[in-house]
């Protein structure tokens, strides 16, 4: 049985696509779908960059630079965003698949396909946040779908506020979907799989929080 990679179906009809992927002997259209995902990623990141999402630390330059310099600087940031739009899915799809391949007994290619489906969800979240941030005048820490807002009321540490703001409803859905796929593919204990997944996501939140916490100016 040949499995056709269908990302949207993977999200909307998880039972069916899980069954198909479970029994797949060969995979087609993987390359095209990967290209498509990269393309989508570039689009979403570029739109976010256009609106200046995440460029708070650069904004102070408005008082020191000429208009043209300021815009040129932002264009560099946008270019950085586009580079990130290529790095981010690569890490998310191939590296994380490698991690799960190490901790589970699932074939690498199936893990890649699951990661692709889930990356689609990640992109969807990012795309939804752009208009939300712009229209509501909020930043990542005050993401409506996250625990960041509540975190700001109870936490002093900027780092942990960033951390909690990474924990969103979408992330829970992603974890659930990932667990839904992986527990079926894996012969191991379901709880072990869940722990691995949760650990993996905790790690990504910590990394993302760290990225939000650091100021690049420290290094360069």
């Amino acid at each position: 049985m040949v499995y056709q990679v269908r990302l949207l179906k993977g999200i909307l009809e998880p039972h069916r696509s899980r069954y198909q992927l479970q029994n797949a002997e060969a995979v087609t259209r993987l390359g095209w779908k990967l290209l498509f995902l990269y393309f989508l990623s570039i689009i979403v990141f570029a739109i976010g960059g256009y609106f200046g999402i995440g460029s708070e630390s650069f904004s102070k330059e408005i008082t020191k630079m000429s208009v043209n310099e300021f815009e040129a600087g932002k264009f560099l940031i946008l270019s950085g965003n586009i580079i990130a739009s290529l790095i981010y899915p690569s890490i998310y799809i191939f590296l994380s698949a490698l991690f799960f391949w190490i901790v589970t007994d699932i074939p690498y290619i199936k893990l890649v396909i699951v990661q692709m489906i889930i990356f689609g969800l990640q992109l969807l979240e990012k795309a939804l946040l752009i208009p939300l941030f712009v229209l509501m005048d909020i930043g990542n820490d005050s993401n409506l779908f996250s625990l960041g807002v509540i975190g700001q009321y109870f936490l002093r540490s900027d780092y942990f506020i960033h951390f909690f703001s990474e924990i969103t409803i979408f992330q829970f859905l992603i974890i659930a979907l990932q667990y839904f796929y992986l527990k079926e593919f894996s012969q191991r204990n379901n709880y072990l799989v869940l722990v691995m997944i949760v650990l993996f996501y905790l790690a990504t939140w910590f990394v993302k929080a760290f990225l939000a916490y650091i100021q690049v100016g420290v290094f360069v």
């Binding site: 708070e56 650069f58 208009v67 700001q152 409803i169």
Partner: protein, 420 residues
């Protein structure tokens, strides 16, 4: 069933979380960090703010002189000008005679005639006296002396000596000469009077304050019989009640229209403090004003009477003051603006406002020249927020990158890659 229950539970949990978050973000004194999306900003600039009243005007002659004619006492003779004629100051407009002057003249002339008649009589008498004198000298005994002379002499001729008579006649002659002299003086005076009357009665001379053009002549002698308009042009218009509070005589004006090559400059010369029409509650009262046009040296454009112009009356002007676009000012409670700080925050600054005009607001107190000010103050939900700005691609020029050090370039690129 269990699947449905799960979905319901997740949905409810999500909705609760989102609702709580919205509440926590939007509530007053929220602790939630905000990032203001800043699309438009502006620097505080040293600027000139000119407050003007924008109104319309119409080109009209500066003044109109009406010339009146008293028909009761005077007789009109003839006009000396036609409608449309240019008249210089002091030129003649029409002739008339006055009945009063005629009577005076007739009196004077009668007096003159009488005086002249008397002079003739005196001459006659003096000749007779001389003749008597001569006769007495030639032959004193047979001298025949004219009756009129005899009667006038103080002495009795028949009894007096001829010498006495002679000296008496002599005296009489002197007396008569004196009389004649005084009469001659009188005639001269009367002549002078008459000639001055002549001059007055031949034409009335109108001296207008300025050169002008005869606008109207009433041939039926209804007053005013002649209207003269000055060749100097002014602009007339109306102020509303609101504008009246600001407008003052002496303010500079600028007038422009599609017909004019250059805009006209001038000053407000007159403002009527009484409305053009009877004051009323229902209607907006309008107060007429007149602005005088400054001549522009040699090349003064000829202005067409009645052409409409757009008028700007400069009511206030401040030069070289810190100014911001008015949309940057937020009036909630106390007027304030938001400054984009060098630390990357949007900070509230209270301001003291000066002159506001042309979409600009003078800052008496507040951010100083060169500070960056947010132009959409309504967006700021929380003071001291971060802000982000969208890219304006049209302002991105490759040449600008020469100004960046490579370290800066890498930093900004990394910022785009790493920072969230």
């Amino acid at each position: 069933m269990s699947g449905k229950w799960k979905i319901t539970a997740v949905s409810i949990a999500s909705i609760v979380l989102i609702t709580v978050n919205i509440y926590l973000i939007e509530k007053k004194g929220s602790k939630a960090e905000r990032t203001v999306f800043v699309e438009n900003w502006s620097m505080v600039k040293k600027d000139t703010i000119t407050d003007t009243i924008q109104t319309n005007g119409v080109i009209k002659p500066v003044e109109e002189y009406d010339i009146y004619f008293e028909t009761k006492k005077n007789d009109f003779k003839k006009f000396l000008v036609k409608e449309g004629d240019a008249v210089a100051a002091g030129s003649s407009l029409f002739e008339y005679t006055t009945t009063e002057l005629d009577a005076l003249k007739a009196n004077l002339e009668a007096e003159k005639t009488a005086a002249e008649g008397e002079i003739v009589g005196i001459d006659e008498y003096i000749r007779k006296l001389m003749a008597s004198q001569g006769a007495l000298t030639r032959d004193p005994d047979k001298a025949v002396i004219d009756e009129s002379v005899k009667n006038n002499l103080d002495i009795n001729i028949t009894t007096s000596s001829s010498d006495l008579i002679k000296s008496n006649i002599e005296q009489e002659m002197y007396k008569q000469e004196l009389e004649k002299n005084s009469l001659n003086e009188k005639v001269k005076m009367l002549d002078a009077k008459l000639s001055s009357i002549e001059e007055q009665a031949s034409a009335i001379v109108t001296t207008s304050e300025a050169d002008g053009v005869v606008k109207n002549i009433n041939k039926n002698l209804k007053n005013p019989i002649i209207s003269i308009v000055s060749t100097n042009m002014a602009i007339e218009g109306n102020f509303t009640e609101e504008e009246m509070k600001k407008a003052k005589v002496g303010m500079t004006i600028k007038a422009s229209s599609s017909d004019l090559k250059k805009s006209l400059k001038g000053t407000i010369g007159r403002i009527h403090s009484y409305p053009a029409e009877e004051p009323s509650l229902k209607r907006d009262n309008r107060f007429p004003f007149q602005a005088l046009i400054e001549p522009e040296g040699e090349e003064t454009e000829s202005l067409l009477v009645g052409s409409k112009v757009n008028l700007a009356v400069i009511t206030n002007e401040k030069a070289g003051v810190p100014a911001i676009p008015i949309e940057a000012v937020h009036y909630q409670k106390k007027p304030h603006v938001y400054k984009l700080t060098k630390k990357g925050y949007v900070d509230k600054h209270y301001i003291a406002r000066g002159l506001k005009a042309e979409g600009k607001q003078e800052l008496i107190k507040g951010p100083s020249v060169g500070d960056v000010i947010l132009l959409e103050p309504n967006r700021v939900a929380k003071n001291h927020s971060y802000f982000i700005t969208p890219i304006q691609f049209e302002k991105v020029k490759t040449a600008t990158y020469k100004k960046f050090t490579s370290r800066e370039k890498v930093r900004y690129l990394l910022l785009g890659i790493l920072e969230k």
